[in-house]
Symmetry: C2
Subunit: 175 residues, 2 copies
DNA sequence: TCGAGTGATGTCAGGCGCTGACATCACTCA
DNA sequence: TGAGTGATGTCAGCGCCTGACATCACTCGA
């Protein structure tokens, strides 16, 4: 991330990253599938947090219960893992490069799909689960954007709950 | 597309594509930014159709008017341009390869963004325009998937209208 | 204690994607 | 007719990524 921030993503070579890390270029590719994955390495862990939260949510709760549980768990994990400043720096790198934005979209789509699958395994109907998967990621993404906005001090989890409630209101009024 | 269908996307080289087309590899890269773009070349035209339809939609109509106009125009363009069988073949290639799925997500995100911008230029509020942009692409994507399903014979435009109506109902009942 | 097995790393060669720089050629138009 | 323009070819080269093999540290059971 130091190198990306200095020279930009495209201008920094894998050889450069490997040298900075004190390993060989070949070793780099044994840890990361490709150059972009360096910035998305933790993503599968986040996915696991979402999925586990859904699987472990109490059974009798309202249908939105697992969704909120997943968002809370995921938001907290993201917040505790590296903190807001790290997220800001990472985000700046990603938004500055189209290849990275592309990869981020793929990761979010996978997250959505994972949530959907986890819901289906709880017995939620396919269509509902699919919509809920999209919804969870939408709320997550929106809250994340607000969370890393300059000057923002509120909790990510708090912002997620607010976003989720706003979507609920929207759907209820039905405009 | 012949080569991709035969050997898969990764196994076919740009040199091979260029040779089949009777040009040099260098010439290929003057027409397409990268190897994946061969399959997404018409995408910017489709985007233009959506945007133009929104810009030219009648002024006094209900707020959903421009959205339906964009979907109708886009759906019709896609349908007339190459036809359903071509769409099916193309889709099969794309879904079989992660790099291509990734690129498709980027193109859809750009389409959504273009729709949002077009709506903002008509005076629609930012948040509303953003949601509408996501909505249009959601309906488009869903209808497209149904359109190319095996055995499906209905019009793409028809499927889009049905999907749009379904979303409207969902929002109205507010479950 | 030793030797086999295992996993992480280094080394090397090489294919493929992609680009810059320059040359060529057909075509247009004053 | 000759200058300008745009598309293509040619060539060299960088950077990404992979397969194959060697090395080394570490573990664990005989």
């Amino acid at each position: 991330m130091e190198l990306f921030a200095e020279d930009g993503f495209e201008a920094t070579t894998v050889a450069g990253i490997a040298a900075r890390a004190g390993v060989t270029e070949r070793t780099f590719f044994r840890h990361f599938a490709d150059k972009r994955e360096v910035l998305f390495a933790g993503e599968s862990l986040l996915e696991k947090v979402f999925v586990d939260a859904i699987a472990n949510a109490p059974a009798g709760a309202p249908p939105a219960g697992p969704l909120l549980a997943a968002l809370d768990a995921g938001g907290r994990a993201l917040q505790d893992e590296r903190g807001r400043d790290h997220a800001r720096a990472r985000n700046e790198i990603i938004t500055a490069n189209e290849q990275l934005r592309e990869r981020e979209l793929l990761k979010l789509a996978k997250l959505s799909h994972a949530v959907t699958t986890a819901l289906v395994e709880r017995g939620v109907a396919d269509v509902t689960a699919c919509l809920a998967g999209e919804l969870v990621v939408l709320v997550f993404r929106t809250a994340f954007t607000r969370w890393i906005a300059p000057g923002e001090t509120r909790d990510l989890v708090e912002l997620q709950r607010e976003g989720f409630a706003a979507v609920n209101d929207l759907a209820r009024t039905g405009t």
